[in-house]
């Protein structure tokens, strides 16, 4: 390897002296740091195999794709699938719903794990702390199918806990799961219940990394616990919060699609149908992979714009950014 490179370098020497220097630097660099690259390798291979290679298949968004003819053999049809999508009111509704659900989740669900982590940090009774943590982590490990079953039962008008309590308070019973206006609160609320605990782990880790000397000196200065939380803990974990926020924005359009699929009904499409469920109904159930790929590509472009914007914003506002 080294030999070929340097041979080539020698041959091209008169014109590309700079290039040769660069190659030499690279060779030296690899010799010195190869362990780090070995450590990186699995991740890079994973990316190439599962994220870059499938991009080849994206071209079916512009083809009349048949799985028998294959990607090569299917004829190009230009932007027809995109025209079909953009001419469909339901697609726009799905885009709208995706954004609304995503932003509401961001507004309501994003702060919860941070608050939870701060609260856990203030618990000093060890057994109580461990128990509380386990209880809030637990729903994360339950399959989404079961979660949907639990939610459907909880909100059932005849046997559901929620309606029973409402009945006791003298309120009228509501068939929540077919009311469009209740779909988003139920979806986002139950998602918070399911994920907030687990997501708080990363903030707890960040809090654990805050230097104890800061607290000690604050205590010497007579700071209250409330002040320490506001003035030390929160600013210290702020970079973590920002990074999590950007990642979250990048995944914004990937609202929990399986979960919506399990919860929604034609009656709640109006508020619950998102891009991914639209793709599922339109594309996968009807085996229109080409159309589904077009919608998926659209989804990805939106996500790219969002994450770029969030990154730029955070670089300007907080000087923390992903890149």
């Amino acid at each position: 390897m080294t030999e070929t490179v340097s041979q080539q370098g020698v041959r091209d020497a008169p014109t590309t002296g700079k290039f040769e220097a660069r190659v030499r630097w690279l060779v030296r660099h690899f010799r010195k740091e190869w362990q780090i690259y070995v450590l990186m390798a699995p991740m890079i291979i994973w990316f190439l195999l599962f994220l870059y290679k499938p991009m080849y298949g994206l071209q079916i968004a512009f083809k009349d794709f048949s799985i028998f003819r294959g990607i090569e053999g299917s004829p190009w049809i230009g932007l027809e699938h995109f025209q079909t999508l953009l001419g469909n009111d339901q697609f726009f509704r799905a885009v709208g719903n995706t954004f609304i659900i995503a932003f509401l989740s961001l507004a309501f669900a994003f702060p919860v794990p941070i608050i939870l982590a701060l609260m856990f940090n203030e618990i000093h009774h060890r057994i109580f702390k461990k128990m509380a943590q386990t209880i809030v982590y637990l729903p994360h490990f339950i399959s989404v199918v079961i979660i949907a079953g639990i939610v459907i039962n909880m909100f059932s008008p005849s046997t559901g806990v929620v309606n029973n309590v409402m009945g006791m308070l003298g309120l009228e019973q509501v068939y929540f799961l077919v009311q469009p206006e209740w779909f988003r609160p139920i979806f986002i609320g139950s998602n918070i219940w399911k994920e907030a605990g687990f997501e708080s782990i990363i903030y707890l880790a960040a809090i654990a990394g805050v230097s104890p000397t800061l607290y000690e000196s604050a205590r010497v200065d007579g700071a209250t616990r409330w002040q320490m939380m506001w003035r030390i803990t929160l600013p210290s974990i702020f970079p973590t919060i920002v990074i999590m926020f950007i990642i979250r924005v990048g995944n914004l359009v990937d609202v929990g699609f399986e979960y919506i699929l399990l919860l929604y009904q034609p009656a709640t499409y109006q508020t619950g149908d998102v891009i991914n469920t639209f793709i599922y109904r339109q594309g996968l159930q009807g085996a229109q992979y080409d159309m589904a790929a077009a919608a998926g590509l659209f989804n990805a472009v939106v996500a790219l714009v969002l994450v770029t914007a969030a990154n730029a914003l955070s670089r300007r506002v907080s000087r923390t950014s992903l890149w």
Binding site: Q90, I152, P180, P266
Partner: protein, 516 residues
């Protein structure tokens, strides 16, 4: 002991085989030298073809053709297994499975499967005779070019779902079995208000259904149609015209009334979310009054819940007369399944393969595929195959036992209803008899095979139209919108979404397919 008896029977069967004259064994022989064909057979999302099934072994003995399964159970989705096999481009000799009609026809036209018309004509006298007698079925499974690309699984028996009601509740309240839509309304109202389960609470659920679409089925009581096939929300055919129930005046009337029934609590308030176990739940808790469901499985609750619910008598009743006096059983079994098997272009022995397919349409082959191996699983009594008692009294249902031996699987063969009747319970048989006498069935729409251009129109339009129709349907039933006020806008919106275009391509495909 049971093992001994089975192996004894096998020995006897083998003995008979040896003693019988040679030509009888050779009658079904397809090849002189044994031939092994690879088959991709992944079906019902959980089973693959098994080279050791008794039925396969017996068929190999008789025909000389042995099948070797290449499908893997690594995936539990049959459609996915099929797609992966097609994508890989590595085609076996035979592909089989359920719900593959559209795939067979589409990829057949693209060149993955061999067109079978000429092969059947020349080499498959039994298949030819079978479809010559049933030209409708041949049309129904043909592709847009008029060719058959697969040999289908042809179910037998006509009756599927029926109206069921609590006869014991009717007795208790002194009511008769409802004969028309008004009486249904009265009965359901009585179920709701007069506490037929006698627990002092108004917790009865007068009409319920495992699939909420069975609520929409009730629009037939106002002379509308909910579906013309065993797929929900499908088109139907009247006088060779393709129509869709959901744009007709009678549907508007039906939905208006159902919305009122729903508001009055005559219909399960949770019908849209209660899910597939609702029948069991509502019957075992003595809550449900009436439903529309399958004969056999629904009747069986009379037996299985006899101890739990005292006096339970949940039996079929004839379809109530509609406003115009029509009694219609809209649901029936589909006369030809979108299941079966096809010959791929990779197959080097298409003639032998079609001869082998033909074997399953002979009396011998059809019996083997319906009942298993003679002397082991059934005996001929008075000329009719009758299951051995150990099969009928087995711990698993008879159909599940048949799957275990390779019978009653979706290969291309004609099913014999005689197989099912032997283990259908009395109450179900009574109900079927009732429906048989009344002759309530109507013809079923068997679907069309689109040309590529037609397919494109359908793909582009239909899924959005369907979404819109169902959204409005549920909103109307739940009372969040008013069908009377929305109707004209609804029709206008469907028009804008290209509803008429879809009907046109359906009609064109239908005319091409069924009228020559």
């Amino acid at each position: 002991m049971r093992m001994l008896r089975v192996s004894l029977a096998a020995l006897m069967a083998a003995g008979i085989g040896l003693a019988a004259p040679a030509y009888a064994e050779d009658e079904y022989r397809v090849v002189d030298d044994p031939l092994t064909l690879d088959i991709h057979f992944h079906f019902r999302d959980r089973l693959v073809y098994n080279n050791d099934w008794p039925v396969e072994k017996r068929a190999a003995e008789l025909t000389g053709v042995q099948l070797n399964n290449v499908a893997s159970l690594a995936t539990t989705n049959s459609q996915e297994a099929f797609n992966l096999m097609i994508v890989s481009g590595d085609l076996p000799d035979i592909v089989a499975g359920n719900r593959l009609k559209d795939s067979f026809n589409q990829y057949g036209l693209e060149g993955a499967f061999v067109p079978l018309n000429d092969l059947i004509e020349e080499h498959a006298p039994n298949i030819k005779a079978f479809f010559d007698e049933r030209p409708q079925l041949r049309s129904a499974i043909s592709a847009a070019d008029g060719n058959m690309y697969f040999i289908p699984y042809v179910p037998d028996g006509k009756y599927g779902r029926a109206y069921f009601i609590r006869y014991d509740w009717l007795d208790k309240l002194g009511l008769d079995v409802p004969q028309n839509v008004d009486e249904v309304y009265e009965v359901l109202t009585a179920f709701r208000t007069q506490d037929p389960n006698g627990n002092g609470k108004q917790d009865e659920v007068p009409y319920f259904a495992r699939q909420w679409e069975e609520l929409i089925r009730l629009v037939t009581l106002w002379d509308a149609r909910s579906s013309g096939s065993d797929t929900y929300h499908d088109f139907y055919v009247e006088d060779d015209q393709i129509r869709h129930g959901y744009v007709e005046e009678s549907y508007r009337e039906g939905i208006k009334n159902l919305a009122q029934w729903y508001a009055e609590g005559l219909i399960d308030a949770e019908i849209f979310t209660r899910g597939p176990r609702s029948r069991e739940h509502l019957l075992s808790n003595n809550l449900g009054g009436m439903t529309h469901d399958w004969f056999a499985s629904t009747s069986s609750y009379n037996v299985s819940l006899a101890d739990t619910v005292e006096g339970l008598s949940f039996r079929a009743f004839a379809p109530p007369a509609s406003v115009e006096g029509r009694r219609l059983a809209e649901h029936r079994r589909i006369p030809v399944r979108p299941d079966g098997w096809a010959i791929t272009i990779a197959n080097e022995n298409p003639v032998e393969t079609i001869k082998y397919f033909d074997f399953w349409f002979t009396e011998m082959g059809s019996r083997l595929s319906n009942f298993g191996v003679e002397g082991v699983h059934y005996d001929i009594i008075d000329g009719v195959p009758i299951y051995k008692p150990e099969i009928l009294d087995g711990s698993a249902p008879v159909n599940a036992q048949m799957w275990e031996i390779g019978a009653q699987i979706p290969r291309g063969f004609p099913q014999d209803y005689g197989y099912e009747i032997q283990w259908t319970n009395e109450i179900a048989l009574e109900g079927i008899d009732l429906y048989e006498q009344g002759d309530y069935l109507t013809d079923i729409f068997l679907g069309v095979a689109f040309s590529e251009d037609e397919q494109r129109v359908y793909d582009k339009r239909w899924s959005s139209i369907m979404t819109y129709m169902l959204e409005m349907q549920q909103a109307w039933i739940l009372g969040s919108r008013d069908v009377e006020a929305d109707w004209d806008d609804y029709l206008g919106q469907l028009d804008r979404m290209g509803f008429n275009e879809v009907v046109e391509v359906m009609q064109a495909a239908y005319d091409r397919q069924y009228q020559n």
